[in-house]
Symmetry: C2
Subunit: 197 residues, 2 copies
């Protein structure tokens, strides 16, 4: 399965590289590439810099589209060119996975309307303003509705990626990957330790 | 504090970007840069590519030197030029942090001789051959001896980085960072869930 990861300036580091670790190590199953609206070097506030291809170069046989969050989403939700492009790619992609405030970007496309989704628990009040018709779940570690997977904040992207593997190849397969990366996986998607009390 | 992260081909993604997330988000405290022996683009098997500076450009006022693991270490332990450079930098760096099989690289320098260290629990038998005078700890999530922090596999680098913060700024500070990245932190460094039974 081919995976396209969306990047934009000031994305959150682990939102991206958590799922990239999980999928990337399965070299026989997944091939990952990084994209941004205009291609070129994308940077974040953590000192991380990534060379990207253009979103328009994504082929419509895409299997998985990953949308991370980060402080950059506050600006990008107003970037109509980006939101339109996300909508186009998310529509033809077989699966769409958002991490953290990445669900705010996807919500802006309207594709999450009447669907269940979650987001970073500490940015929740802002995130929900980006999709008033989304059925926001404040307790989930991650959610699944139709082809859309959305996770809670940062590290939760790892739990969701493992959950995605579990849904495709069974829970023992996912547990083995969690074991290999020595990650204490929250297997229950409906119960986030970090939910707002 | 300035942080230099060592990269080499086929480094493990999360070994690097776990600690980078933890330190990177503290923008007022840490500045991170990426280095390799010869500089330039470094790639791994997960599709990740990073532009690096040369190790020789690291200034001797370095505060933190991070050495990740990954399948690439199997080759790099035989790279005398790299091991010599690691020894030089680790010697002047105020702290040295290894993740996963990164401790095999550091062990090759001799700097871990008669010091306590750990590594990836599934690569342990190979790792210990790289430092027969190291006091290897098979149960720790991470270890601290003098200025050397070494962590167990992959995700354990996040726990160690949080532990490093705890040692500098107190446990409540570290807990807040873990909370912000929604990470279920293993606070007890001496008890790795993934230890060999």
């Amino acid at each position: 399965m081919n995976i396209a990861v969306l990047l934009f300036d000031d994305f959150e580091t682990l939102d991206v590289y958590g799922p990239v670790e999980v999928f990337g190590r399965l070299v026989d199953l997944y091939a990952i590439k990084f994209y941004s609206l205009n291609g070129g070097q994308i940077k974040n506030q953590h000192g991380v810099s990534v060379l990207t291809e253009k979103l328009e170069d994504i082929n419509d046989n895409l299997q998985i589209f990953i949308i991370p969050g980060g402080i950059g989403t506050r600006k990008e939700v107003e970037n109509k060119l980006l939101i339109d492009k996300i909508k186009e790619i998310a529509t033809f992609s077989k699966f769409v996975l958002t991490v953290c405030t990445g669900s705010a970007l996807l919500a802006r496309t309207g594709l999450l309307d009447n669907k269940i989704a979650t987001s970073n628990k500490r940015a929740f009040e802002w995130v929900i303003t980006n999709g008033t018709n989304v059925i926001w779940n404040k307790k989930a570690r991650w959610t699944i509705d139709d082809k859309y997977y959305t996770s809670s904040g940062v590290s939760a992207g790892i739990d969701m990626a493992l959950g995605f593997l579990s849904d495709r190849y069974g829970i023992e397969f996912a547990r083995r990957v969690a074991f290999e990366i020595e990650y204490n996986w929250t297997e229950d998607k409906d119960n986030d330790t970090f939910k707002v009390k």
